[in-house]
């Protein structure tokens, strides 16, 4: 599509400056997909507004011209959420990176949506505070993107996902209207649109500002790494810890393939290659509490006969214990030209069952799968390594993904714990929710965006057939 002649483009260039409206094929290339490369679509243009006013102007203008728009943060999403259908515009928040206000006494901060997650914790560290949600992509992904996907991370087992840390959001609706959703005091009147926004995948409103909750840095932190002969044994240890009423902040498992990948990469951290799985447990809180709780966790782990058990109480040792887990995503990305990182949830008592099923599926498709998971939340992330240039492999991987997600549902789980539905899982949503419930979700969408201008065809299965339009391989499993 040649954008040069479009009237709205001229208006955007005039208001935002030519430099901030991208249309050349080379510039648009990196906006063709997010971190899920199974789907691709080149936008007509990418706009880079500097502030909320420019976002409101852009949305109002595009709305008037009937042009669809998708907000985008860092593009690290893993469900195809930040793609726009052909002819549409991507609104990138990368120029909106200000941490506008830090209120140490009230433990909250006001940020623009393009602020990178990890930067907020760094900016408030001198006050003894931190921002708790810690997705593994935190050094790159944006807080706006985190809200849109209701991002989680290892620490979310105890502290909850992004939604629990958003006090209020300033948003721009599809027609350019600005509103504040949420309140700075505990609760206010009217529907909890702040809560609805979290996980809405950029399809209800563009986030232009966020009041986020900050938490005190704990007095003491202890990390333990236990190696077990099998994933099932690691899962049994997780169940034991949870059932004993212990409340660690994180419970993370890596299987043998993930360990191998880490140990063969620059993230090598001395993980035991012979282990079937490693379990990382972290306890935090005040001194006495952590001493007592970590002793109980350690006793519980020992009772499960680990192959190896290590403990870190000082920051250097703890960082070393986490190094492998933190680098695992990157290490796995190097195993093959493409990787497909899945996201599903089961009740945590069903972890062993779902992992057995993943193994069966792996055998069936004949492609390697590595597993990293937030075991405390029952949130699994099988990583398939494949070559996307081979359409057969891509189709196989997608089919395998769908099978695993269906099994998650069968075990009482959910299609997504933190990556969202995006384009990837639309076709499965009617297995999780009844037709009536989906219709009501659709009505909510229509209420806030009646013309379906904002990130259309995402999240809900109502644009059935639309995912195929983005499909790199012509719609393998969809």
């Amino acid at each position: 599509m040649s954008g040069a002649s479009l009237p709205w483009l001229a208006a955007l260039r005039q208001r935002l400056g030519t430099r901030h409206v991208l249309t050349s094929p080379a510039e648009l290339l990196s906006y063709e997909s997010d971190a899920l490369t199974l789907f691709r679509c080149k936008p007509a243009a990418v706009v880079l507004p500097a502030n909320a006013e420019e976002v409101a102007f852009t949305m109002a203008l595009l709305h008037e011209h009937g042009v669809v728009c998708t907000p985008r943060g860092a593009g690290t999403g893993l469900s195809g959420g930040a793609l726009v259908p052909e002819g549409g515009v991507i609104l990138s928040t990368t120029r909106m990176q200000a941490i506008v206000e830090i209120d140490g006494e009230e433990r909250r901060a006001y940020v623009e949506p393009g602020v990178v997650n990890a930067k907020l914790s760094s900016a408030v560290a001198h006050l003894g505070l931190r921002y708790a949600p810690d997705p593994a992509s935190q050094s790159v992904c944006t807080l706006g993107g985190n809200v849109a996907e209701n991002a989680g991370g290892p620490m979310c087992f105890l502290h909850g996902t992004t939604s629990q840390h958003v006090l209020a959001a300033d948003v721009v609706l599809a027609d350019g209207t600005r509103q504040r959703w949420g309140h700075l005091c505990a609760d206010g009147h009217g529907p909890d649109l702040r809560g609805l926004l979290c996980g809405s995948e950029g399809s209800l409103a563009v986030v232009v500002g966020l009041w986020l909750r900050l938490m005190p840095v704990p007095e003491r932190v202890t990390t333990m790494l236990a190696a077990f002969p099998s994933v099932t044994a690691a899962c049994a240890a997780v169940s034991g810890i949870v059932a004993a009423g212990l409340r660690p902040v994180a419970l993370e498992v890596m299987d043998q393939r993930a360990i191998e990948a880490v140990e063969n990469s620059v993230y090598r951290s001395g993980l035991p290659r012979e282990a079937g799985a490693v379990l990382l447990v972290e306890c935090e809180g005040h001194e006495q509490q952590v001493v007592q709780e970590s002793a109980a966790v350690e006793a519980m782990l020992r009772a499960k006969n680990p192959l190896q058990l290590e403990r870190g109480d000082d920051p250097a040792r703890r960082i070393a214990l986490w190094k492998g887990r933190k680098g695992a995503g990157g290490a796995l990305g190097r195993l093959a030209p493409d990787s497909y990182v899945m996201d599903g949830v089961v009740p945590r008592s069903q972890l062993a069952a779902i992992m057995e099923f993943v193994e069966e599926v792996e055998e069936e498709v004949g492609l390697p799968v590595a597993n990293l998971f937030h075991a405390g939340d029952g949130n699994i992330h099988p990583h398939f390594a494949y070559d996307g240039r081979d359409p057969e492999q891509a189709a196989k991987v997608e089919r395998a993904g769908a099978q695993i997600l269906e099994k998650c549902l069968e075990l009482g789980g959910s299609l997504s714990g933190e990556h969202g539905i995006g384009l990837e899982k639309q076709h499965l949503l009617d297995r999780q929710f009844s037709a009536d419930t989906l219709r009501v979700m659709h009505q909510v969408g229509q209420w806030l965006d009646p013309h379906d201008c904002l990130n259309p065809r995402k999240g809900l299965p109502l644009g059935r057939g639309c995912a195929e339009a983005f499909h790199r391989h012509g719609g393998g499993a969809v």
Binding site: L184, R194, C198, G245, H286, S349, S434, D436, Q443, G459
Partner: protein, 324 residues
């Protein structure tokens, strides 16, 4: 004022769709409620609607998974009854409130009840993973899921929470549960000022003040943080009995303040600021909506309950309280 034409004590969910369809056809107001304890407290009158539907008779625990720390319960159960089921399993609901005995779980989560455990487990709404609800036109909606983490479709649970019966009749709740601390350490701090305490001590589980008693009541799960032991204290107590005694005193005290991030005044009617040792600074009082509004220039007022209800069930515009 609407004259009450009918009162329905629902005993089975299956009675609801037909009843809802019937009343919405007549364009009459229907007010879903539990035992009405909070309605009386907040609205100071009987529910004003042609049709009152009480879900207090729905009392089942459909399942309770100890290992997953989740359960699905009917809304008519009282919070106290659920806590009594959970205690022997070493679990608890992440909400503690003054209306635990009189009210229902539906009333607790569908209104904006205070949560004493806000500091330990967050807002009451964070404890709800999913719901079963019937819209004004009788449509059954099942929101959320039974797992503790889910991002799938729009989070309709958030819209129903706090709606006070304006959107739907909710019949079931899927709840997140928590390990119950083995023991609580209570302290009464004499001249404690909340900001100082909050800055220098790990977050307590409870913190509140009663007008007729000197000092600030705080509690941590045992073991007590060392820093707390260093604070001067008037009194100390341990365990569940102390909790019950203090919470009862709290419920009965007309001049009381619960502290979360900022003090929360629970009863402003007879509140006498000067009778207390002003434990907060002026700037820490609840912000007026004006000061919040100054942060961001032109904005429109967010949509109301009425607008949302019209979007969800356009043919049945009268539901719940009239104040939206």
């Amino acid at each position: 004022m609407n004259a009450v034409l009918s009162t329905h004590d629902i005993q089975k969910e299956s009675e609801l769709p037909a009843l809802l369809r019937e009343t919405s056809q007549d364009q009459q107001r229907l007010w879903p409620c539990g035992r009405q304890s909070r309605i009386h407290r907040v609205f100071h009158h009987e529910p004003q609607a042609e049709h009152i539907v009480s879900t207090a008779g729905l009392q089942n625990i459909h399942w309770l998974d100890r290992e997953d720390q989740t359960c699905e319960v009917d809304v008519g159960l009282s919070p106290l009854a659920l806590q009594q089921e959970l205690a022997p399993l070493g679990l608890e609901l992440g909400v503690d409130s003054p209306s635990h005995e009189a009210g229902t779980l539906g009333g607790l989560f569908l209104s904006r009840e205070v949560n004493f455990l806000h500091q330990a487990y967050g807002h009451a709404r964070e404890q709800v993973l999913g719901m079963r609800a019937y819209l004004a036109d009788g449509t059954q909606v099942q929101t959320g899921s039974r797992v503790v983490k889910s991002v799938a479709g729009y989070d309709l649970t958030r819209l129903l929470l706090g709606s006070e019966g304006r959107l739907a009749v909710v019949t079931r709740l899927t709840l997140r549960l928590h390990p119950r601390p083995k023991s609580l350490d209570w302290r009464r701090m004499p001249t404690a000022s909340w900001p100082d305490l909050r800055q220098s001590l790990p977050t307590p589980r409870y913190a509140f003040q009663l007008a007729h008693q000197q000092g600030l009541f705080v509690a941590w799960p045992s073991p007590l943080p060392q820093a707390a032991a260093r604070w001067p204290q008037l009194d100390s107590a341990q365990g569940e009995a102390a909790r019950l005694e203090l919470l009862h005193a709290f419920a009965e005290c007309p001049q009381r303040v619960a502290y979360s991030r900022r003090p929360r005044i629970l009863n402003t009617g007879t509140f006498d600021w000067n009778s207390l040792q002003q434990p907060w600074t002026e700037s820490e009082r609840l912000p007026s909506h004006d000061s919040e509004a100054q942060m961001i220039p032109p904005r429109q007022v967010p949509p109301s309950w009425a607008a949302l209800r019209r979007a969800l069930a356009p043919q049945a515009p009268h539901f719940g309280p009239q104040d939206d």
